[in-house]
């Protein structure tokens, strides 16, 4: 808390800083309230004028405050816009909030950060906030014919609240019309220099689109004049669901955000919940969480590498990598009982202790993997044709990357040696010995190379976990640990009652706001959660790395050819579930 206090005090004294009012939060991130007309001045100040600036627009979202009861320490607001900025000079985050009332209007900041474009469209789509001056304020997640704004509190959350679905002929016609492609709606012209251009619809089911992702290409021959990504096909309303699930029962939903990350998705969620509850987890829990997360990182990177090589036409590696992934899943299955979606982390601990003999399984894998990686290096990363296809394709500098909100391997590939696990260690990463691989050119090849090297580093981390696994409990002794430690329940009625309530209704988290961030497989993933003192979250915001990464595609592929676009898509390593949530 003191750090946040120091940061806000420094801001108050900084010359030229607009007025603000600060708010305490459980995660100690400085949180500033500014007036709507001061918003742009404040953000510009934080990005350009302040010493050691906040260069990245990390996240932009909103909170529908109309049903919130416990917010006495905050200015009155119907809808609050939340801007989260990140500074790589400070390794720190700052949160700027704006209260909206009446007709929910705010100025756009797309001129300050290019990646604000999609974020503002998302807020418009899901909350109905009107951003004045936005170049193309249309729906992005929901279909263009959707009625209402889903994340508003009055919008129904379940199908049973919405009445039966009907599709009469007129509505069918309307839906069909909405599907018709008109280049003008996408900001594209039909002709260039008098010659007609071709439009190619790549996706939502194209073998190399990696999921239900659509890119509309404007082509001159095979050269890409412009590309417009279209997302939302994989939207399941995870953030809305979080408002209808107990703190505990939402954990399995997090697994399905980045479906290749497995327990890595539970990680930020349970860490944020633990912050709210004030739980300190035992060492054994921390190390086990790290070990499983790193296993999933390898698994995800293997799939990335296999499909990436397949995208440039090398058919075989993906099959070899599935053999390795199977070995990882054998361990995961032995530990968690599930494979892809283990939902194994709990608020305050783990579902169970590690099973007997886990060291043997992990050791076998550690012995198996390095030789395989050497083979992949020879076969894939050093292959002349692979290099030829991916060198200098889709390159960006790290300044551009920060401007566009790129995090994780994509940022490190551009040359910035910045890994959350090193810079702001969580869950005890500071005790581990590992390197942060970086690239130089920020092109498709470097993005693959960084991920490839990260697998080796993850192996080192797993080995250290295995050798130094602390003894102890797999759950914190805390009343909000879910499900709680049970040994006293059969002896005293008070504990039994608490256990019963916390298991059947779910734990009741103290009022507050918090967020937790992890270095996930694809970049920085964080959960920003608000508890209004209930057994369910008032608002859960899931910031995923793939969302801003996709937004950058047009910038990367203009002037390239279709095969280059495929290589770029492969090198970004996205999962549509991670984009659309």
């Amino acid at each position: 808390m003191s750090e946040a206090l120091a940061a806000t005090q420094a801001l108050e004294q900084a010359p030229g800083a607009p007025d603000f009012r600060s708010q305490p939060t459980a995660d100690a991130v400085p949180t500033l309230w500014v007036a709507a007309d001061q918003l742009r001045a404040m953000l510009r100040f934080l990005k350009h004028e302040i010493d050691r600036p906040y260069g990245m627009l990390y996240d932009l979202t909103a909170i529908d405050e109309r049903l919130r009861q416990h917010r006495a320490d905050q200015p009155a607001s119907e809808c609050t816009l939340v801007y989260q900025l990140f500074s790589f000079e400070r390794d720190d985050m700052i949160r700027v909030k704006v209260a909206l009332a009446g007709d929910w209007r705010a100025p756009t900041i797309t001129d300050l950060w290019p990646n604000a474009n999609w974020y503002e469209r998302e807020v418009f789509d899901l909350f109905g906030v009107d951003f004045e001056g936005h170049p193309h304020l249309t729906r992005i997640i929901m279909s263009p014919t959707w009625q209402g704004h889903p994340l508003r509190k009055e919008h129904p959350a379940r199908a049973t609240e919405m009445g039966p679905y009907e599709l009469p002929d007129e509505k069918l016609q309307e839906e069909q019309d909405a599907l018709r492609f008109r280049p003008e709606d996408w900001g594209m012209e039909r002709k260039r220099d008098g010659a007609e251009l071709m439009f190619l619809n790549l996706g939502p089911n194209h073998p190399s689109a990696h999921g239900v992702f659509r890119v509309v290409l404007q082509l001159d021959g095979e050269e890409i004049v412009d590309a417009v990504p279209d997302i939302g096909y994989h939207h399941r309303g995870a953030e809305k669901m979080a408002e209808r699930q107990t703190w505990h029962s939402f954990i399995p939903y997090t697994d399905r955000i980045d479906y290749l990350g497995g327990v890595m998705n539970n990680f930020p969620y349970v860490m944020a919940a633990e912050q709210l509850a004030g739980i300190q987890v035992p060492d054994r829990v921390q190390v086990t969480r790290i070990m499983l997360s790193e296993l999933f990182r390898i698994s995800s990177h293997l799939l990335f590498l296999g499909t990436f090589l397949q995208d440039v036409g090398q058919m075989s590696p993906v099959f070899y990598m599935f053999t390795d992934r199977q070995k990882i899943y054998d361990i995961i299955e032995g530990v968690c009982g599930f494979r892809m979606h283990p939902a194994w982390f709990r608020i305050g601990g783990l579902a169970q202790d590690l099973p007997q003999g886990w060291e043997k399984a992990v050791k076998q894998f550690l012995n198996w993997m390095p030789a395989r990686l050497r083979e992949y290096e020879k076969m894939g990363m050093k292959n002349a044709l692979v290099k030829k296809r991916t060198r200098d394709i889709g390159a960006y500098t790290y300044e551009e990357a920060i401007d566009w909100g790129v995090t994780g391997p994509g940022l490190r590939a551009a040359g910035l040696e910045w890994d959350l696990r090193k810079q702001r260690p969580y869950s005890g990463y500071e005790q581990f010995d590992f390197d942060v691989p970086t690239g130089k050119r920020g092109d498709s090849y470097d993005r693959a190379w960084v991920r490839f090297e990260e697998m080796r580093q993850s192996l080192r981390i797993i080995e250290q976990c295995m050798k130094n696994m602390p003894a102890g409990e797999y759950k914190a002794r805390h009343k909000l640990t879910t499900p709680p430690v049970k040994d006293h329940t059969m002896h005293d009625i008070e504990t039994l009652i608490h256990h019963f309530l916390s298991v059947s209704w779910g734990p009741v988290m103290p009022v507050g706001e918090t967020s937790a961030m992890v270095e996930a497989t694809k970049g920085l993933n964080s959960y920003y959660m608000i508890s209004d003192g209930g057994n369910m979250s008032y608002r859960t915001r899931i910031r995923t790395p793939s969302f801003p990464h996709l937004q950058m595609i047009p910038l990367l592929c203009r002037g390239m050819m279709i095969p280059d676009l495929i290589a770029i898509l492969g090198s970004i390593d996205f999962v549509m579930a991670d984009v659309d949530r």
Binding site: M315, L385, R389, D564
Partner: protein, 314 residues
């Protein structure tokens, strides 16, 4: 006369069966090299898989997309089948076996190889779909370019054998296979053959990762099957041509000539499959640059040097 018809039918049958079997062989070989099984359910080792595929593909609805150019759409797959089968007519399988002996056999082969381009281009055009069109355009430039190097790479062979007749060429390799003196010609021909039969790594007209299925995106049922068959016959024919022109045809010790021919051909067919398993796909412009900037000078130099050496020796 009857004997000749029987011989033709025999070769034709072997070729069709070979192409059908190849669909299974390729998938099993790929499985072997990719650490998996491949089709192993139908019959012992899955050998009946081609039968099952054939039944499936023949009983599919014969459908032509309403936006396609019907006539060309139907003709296109027929062209590739006819052109590739015709090539096999001039290939001498053994001292006595072979459909026809043309003294311009080599030119006939090149002509037929050129014709098969039409199949791919017309399929891409007639489908009236953007992905197919891009595939067709790629096919046109790729195959036309590589035809140039294909013909040029054979100049040395023709000079050394002094004939366009394939049987004479094979007989000229009695002592020394042409792959030794004509090594660069062999490499260039191999690459060009790969491009002509548009197989991975040079399958740019198809390139499933970029163009979904390229020129045959809109095809289904037996029309698709014909492209498929044409591709496999193309692989066999290219292998047979390599054997005939560079690897001494039927020549070899101990075993009967026909067996030698078959073994050598099988080796190259397997090599084609291995390449598919191993090598990524270059980009379209890189492929063109490779052809015009590397293969063209190489084949030209090869022709000039071969001519010079032959002149000096005579």
């Amino acid at each position: 006369m009857l004997l000749k018809i029987a011989e033709i039918l025999f070769i034709f049958g072997v070729l069709i069966l070979g192409a059908a079997a190849l669909t299974w062989v390729e998938r099993r070989l790929l499985g072997l090299w990719q650490d998996r099984y491949g089709p192993n359910r139908a019959g012992p080792l899955g050998i009946l898989q081609p039968v099952a595929d054939m039944v499936k593909i023949l009983t599919k609805e014969d459908w032509i997309p309403p936006f396609a150019d019907r006539v060309l759409y139907v003709i296109a797959p027929a062209i590739i089948i006819i052109a590739t089968f015709m090539v096999f007519a001039v290939i001498p399988l053994s001292p006595s076996l072979g459909v026809i002996e043309l003294n311009i056999g080599l030119l006939f082969f090149l002509a037929m190889a050129s014709l098969s381009v039409y199949s791919v281009v017309l399929a891409g055009w007639a489908s009236n779909s953007k992905y197919a069109l891009l595939g067709g355009v790629r096919a046109a430039s790729q195959m036309i370019s590589y035809e140039v190097f294909m013909a040029l790479s054979l100049a040395g062979v023709i000079m050394m054998a002094g004939s366009f007749n394939l049987r004479t060429i094979v007989e000229a390799q009695q002592g020394l296979w042409f792959v030794v003196p004509q090594f660069f010609g062999f490499v260039a021909f191999f690459v060009a053959g790969l491009a002509e039969s548009h197989r991975l790594p040079l399958d740019l007209p198809e390139s499933e990762h970029e163009l979904t299925a390229g020129f045959h995106t809109e095809y289904s049922g037996m029309k698709f099957g014909m492209f498929f068959l044409g591709e496999y016959v193309g692989v066999i024919v290219t292998s047979a041509m390599i054997v005939t022109l560079f690897m001494g045809g039927w020549h070899g010790p101990w075993l009967p000539p026909l067996v030698w021919f078959g073994l050598k051909m099988a080796f190259f067919v397997a090599l084609f499959v291995l390449l598919r398993a191993a090598i990524p796909r270059p980009r379209y412009d890189q492929l063109m640059a490779f052809g015009w900037k590397l293969l063209l000078p190489l084949t030209l130099a090869n022709a000039v040097i071969t001519g010079g050496v032959l002149l000096a020796g005579s």
